[in-house]
């Protein structure tokens, strides 16, 4: 077997607590499908037959009842971990290490993309890389986010990603938070790769191909707890570490301890001399202009595939959630109206709206650019524009809902007027209630 897929679905959605305090992030509906269905669909389309899903018990329960997830033909091996435990993604990998028999493809449940996966995996295969990851050019979110007054300043800290001139080899990765005085780049990197492009506008898709040796390395290094935060920068730095290349002991105690821990990382395959021979006899080099051999003799290589076209979005903020609801349905050729929905004829429905199963839409309603979830009832004379209505919601007559997110099982009273609001789970909005850019939920 070549690759094992691992789906990380235990995330809490800490940056959108208003949405996730009742529904786990993995089961948030996007285009009337649970969020984790999208990465599962990506894997299924490409040809995976088995996926290891790491999630919480809550999500596991929700998964077993969800129809869409039952539709997935792959075999899902669900591993549940403690909810409250502070398990990072790398800790989770360590937890399932006995199941890992070969190289892995790690995905996050909040990734929605239409990338051609073979681009990432080909880099991993062709160059015998230790890690290959996916990144995408970030797009500005254009929709107004409920609860935000005025334009939001990017409070997120930037990632600095350095690639070589072919745009494929990953040379440098650091987050703004870790750089105090400024960006410092080692001379050894500059000597080997004199041209480096540093990009800041990239979104990490949280899709990694990792060698099995990395998982074994994690079991020995219990200090690493997050893949994105710690493991990836570590691997990128290790590419140019002297201990990796020269295989001599350094005087620094730091490096000595690291070298002991590096053992599994540098595991060579059997028949290594044959591979060496093939590489020596081959007249290929990845760079020109200096005296060193292909890859500068480095055994550890990290590659990145940067998507410039297509959809690649991580749903970890409210703005992203809204954006993705707009874009995700376009990925699939599915009818926008579920066949079991009961829509009256005098309803004005835009073509880019989605109606879920067993919905009741009454007369004289207007639904434009919105997503309506399953089991939702919309009474007469309601105007829904640019909004996301989740499952089981009841909207009484005469409401006007614009640019809002209404979570599951909420009830909107008669004549309510909501503009750019977020209504939490199970909330009741009083009749004739007016609200503008407000977050109305228990989670606050």
């Amino acid at each position: 077997m070549e690759l094992q897929a691992v789906l990380m679905a235990a995330g809490g959605g800490s940056r959108m607590t208003d949405l996730t305090y009742n529904t786990p992030k993995a089961m948030l509906p996007v285009g009337n499908k649970p969020l984790m269905w999208y990465p599962l669909n990506l894997l299924e389309k490409v040809g995976f037959e088995e996926v290891i899903v790491i999630t919480t018990k809550e999500v596991q329960k929700a998964m077993s009842t969800d129809l869409k997830i039952k539709d997935v033909k792959m075999k899902l091996d669900v591993v549940s971990i403690q909810e409250d435990g502070d398990m990072g993604t790398a800790d989770a990998l360590r937890h399932i290490q006995p199941k890992i028999k070969t190289d892995i493809l790690v995905l996050s449940c909040d990734l929605i993309t239409d990338v051609a996966l073979h681009e990432v995996v080909d880099l991993f295969r062709a160059h015998n890389a230790t890690m290959a990851m996916l990144m995408s050019k970030a797009h500005e979110f254009t929709e107004t986010v409920p609860g935000q007054k005025g334009k939001k300043k990017t409070a997120e800290q930037r990632d600095f990603v350095g690639v070589d001139k072919s745009g494929k080899r990953l040379l440098f990765m650091a987050n703004e938070a870790d750089l105090e005085d400024g960006l410092s780049i080692r001379k050894s990197i500059m000597r080997k790769h004199p041209r480096m492009l540093i990009k800041t506008g990239l979104v990490d898709a949280h899709l990694y191909c990792l060698k099995k040796a990395v998982v074994d390395f994690l079991t020995e290094n219990k200090s690493i707890s997050s893949i994105r935060g710690e493991l990836v920068p570590y691997l990128v730095r290790k590419q140019f570490s002297k201990t990796v290349n020269s295989q001599k002991l350094k005087d620094d105690t730091d490096d000595q301890t690291q070298e002991k821990n590096d053992g599994p990382l540098l595991i060579s395959s059997r028949d290594e001399p044959l591979l060496q021979l093939a590489q020596e006899r081959s007249c290929w080099n990845d760079h020109r202009g200096d005296m060193s051999e292909a890859y500068h003799g480095g055994k550890l290589r990290c590659y990145v595939h940067i998507m410039d076209q297509g959809l690649c979005c991580r749903v970890n903020t409210l703005a992203a959630y809204i954006e993705v609801n707009r874009l995700a349905p376009k990925l699939f050729e599915e009818p926008s109206v579920h066949p079991s929905a009961d829509i009256s004829e005098r309803c004005q429905m835009g073509s880019d709206s989605i109606i879920g199963a067993v919905c009741h839409i009454a007369d004289k309603t207007s639904i434009k650019r919105s997503t309506i979830g399953n089991f939702t009832t919309v009474k007469e004379k309601v105007k829904v524009t640019n909004s996301i209505i989740m499952h089981g919601v009841t909207i009484e007559e005469g409401c006007n809902i614009q640019g809002s997110v209404i979570c599951s099982n909420a009830v909107i009273g008669r004549g309510a007027d909501l503009k750019y609001c977020l209504v939490g789970n199970g909330q009741h909005i009083e009749p004739e209630g007016k609200s503008k850019t407000n977050i109305l939920s228990n989670g606050q």
């Binding site: 690759l3 040809g47 995976f48 073979h118 028949d271 093939a278 590489q279 081959s282 007249c283």
Partner: protein
């Protein structure tokens, strides 16, 4: 009949033998025609033909003595019978009968019609259909050709690097072993390039395949493993056409696998195969390289004060030069390079790293630099059975110019690269590389940018060419220094050994 042969003199027995052979052939043909005709409509007309044929034969049934005149008479009778059959049958079958019969008597030796390999018949839609069917059966995706092909080479495949075969494969590849997928990718990206490197990488991948192989129930390892390897070889062929050295390596492995006795246990058999592969690489590649280097150096092919010209990056030639430098020969090297691959830069790096003083020119400057050169060392991709050398495109040009300047040309080649193909020109069988490699951006402009939209423009990126043996003075192999024309002898000896 046999008694006749015994009793007659030499001439007659020869004639008898000839006649016997002809009769046998005719009888065979009649049988075949009978089968054909049985399925066709005009059966009634056949009877006179078939009766005519045997009718012509009884007169040839020998009475012991036959003079030349009588033989002529028989031939005339036969021809008349055929003419009669032509008139009775107006259809195509009549033509077949007529044309094939007169052909049979004159030629004693049937021309051996070899089937043309499919990779040089790309413009024939039937062949393509057959290939598509075969690949479908083996569950391997078909790689489609890219771009406009120059008309002289439209019978060859032309693939684009931007459309790898893995696009159509499932990602955890189950049909094809992951080591083979990796190898195919490395071939199509050019990461593993060069005849020796490709063979070694192929054998390495086969080792992994054999390690991971388990014999299914009711199957024998010797037959099943060969069948397992066939789709892998098709896959690799789709990624990049197989080289002659790879072909020979595959033949060797298949032979070794089918020679495994059926009572051999699986682990033993696998170990045996792995050892075979190791020893093949050791003998044919590593030790052969060492032997060739030794031969070249000791027989004074590289002497002090020499100026040696090399072309492109040949692992064997680089090895020889490095060894000669280690043995303290004083020489300098001129590396000739050509676009679009610019492999000479890699050769230059390896030689300069060792400390050899080198000069670097492009192939357009070959006639300028040749007066300085004392010897030309060329590597080969394959040596063909008629003595032609198949190598990187540009080699034949260098050999030609060197001949014009009276500079000796030495080709270094291991014997496992000898193949029994015959080719006299570079058109019949070649490889077309990605035409987009020819596009280059200089000072911000890319002149060939939209070449696909120009209907009258075709980009040709050839990989190989053949050099006639007149331009090659010596071939250095591990068997010694042989002239180019001795290649068929070596092949014959190898076949006898096997």
């Amino acid at each position: 009949m046999l008694s006749l042969i015994v009793s007659e003199g030499k001439d007659l027995t020869k004639e008898e033998k000839q006649r016997l052979r002809k009769e046998k052939k005719q009888q065979k043909k009649i049988k075949e025609k009978k089968d054909d005709k049985a399925s066709q409509e005009n059966e009634k007309e056949k009877k006179p033909v078939t009766s005519a044929a045997p009718a012509s034969q009884p007169p040839t049934q020998p009475t012991p003595t036959k003079t030349k005149a009588e033989l002529k008479a028989e031939r005339r009778a036969r021809q008349e019978a055929e003419r009669a059959s032509k008139q009775t049958k107006k259809g195509e079958t009549g033509q077949q009968a007529a044309t094939s019969k007169p052909k049979a008597p004159p030629s004693d030796l049937q021309p051996v019609v070899k089937r043309l390999p499919e990779h040089i018949q790309v413009d024939n839609p039937d062949v393509l259909k057959k290939l598509a069917k075969k690949l479908e059966r083996q569950q391997i995706p078909l790689r489609s050709d890219y771009g406009y092909k120059v008309s002289l080479f439209s019978h060859l495949h032309q693939y684009s690097r931007k459309a790898p075969l893995t696009q159509q494969l499932s990602i955890p590849s189950t049909v094809i072993h992951p080591a083979i997928v990796r190898l195919g990718l490395q071939y199509s990206h050019g990461i593993v390039a060069g005849s020796n490197a490709r063979s070694v990488a192929l054998l390495h991948a086969f080792k992994q395949v054999i390690r991971d192989y388990t014999t299914p129930q009711n199957e024998e390892l010797s037959r099943d493993l060969v069948n397992k390897l066939k789709p892998y070889i098709s896959f690799l062929n789709q990624c990049r056409p197989l080289s002659a050295s790879m072909g020979n390596a595959i033949k060797y492995i298949k032979k070794e696998i089918s020679n495994i006795p059926s009572n051999c246990k699986e682990d033993e058999a696998k170990n045996k195969l792995l050892n075979c592969i190791e020893s093949y690489i050791n003998e044919k590649i590593i030790l052969a390289g060492v032997a060739i280097a030794k031969c070249a150096i000791e027989k004074q092919k590289i002497s002090d004060g020499d100026v040696i010209l090399v072309y492109g990056c040949s692992s064997l030639v680089n090895h020889i030069l490095c060894k000669a430098f280690e043995k303290n020969r004083k020489f300098r090297v001129i590396v000739v390079d050509s676009r679009p691959r610019l492999e000479g830069k890699e050769a230059l790096r390896r030689l300069v790293q060792k400390g050899i003083s080198c000069t670097y020119v492009l192939i357009s400057a070959v006639s300028y630099i040749l007066p300085e050169v004392s010897k030309v060392f060329l590597g080969a991709h394959a040596l063909l059975a008629n003595g032609y050398v198949m190598s990187r495109v540009g080699t034949s040009q260098i050999a030609l110019v060197a001949k014009a300047f009276n500079v000796p040309v030495l080709v270094c080649c291991e014997t496992y690269k000898f193949c029994d193909r015959v080719q006299t020109d570079s058109f019949v069988s070649n490889e077309l590389d990605d035409p987009d490699d020819l596009i280059v951006t200089r000072k911000g402009t890319t002149p060939l940018e939209g070449w696909e939209n120009e209907s009258s423009l075709g980009l040709l990126n050839l990989v190989y060419d053949v050099t006639p043996p007149d331009f090659v003075d010596l071939v250095i192999t591990e068997l010694g220094m042989i002239p180019c024309t001795s290649v068929p002898v070596v092949l014959r000896v190898k076949n006898v050994d096997q």
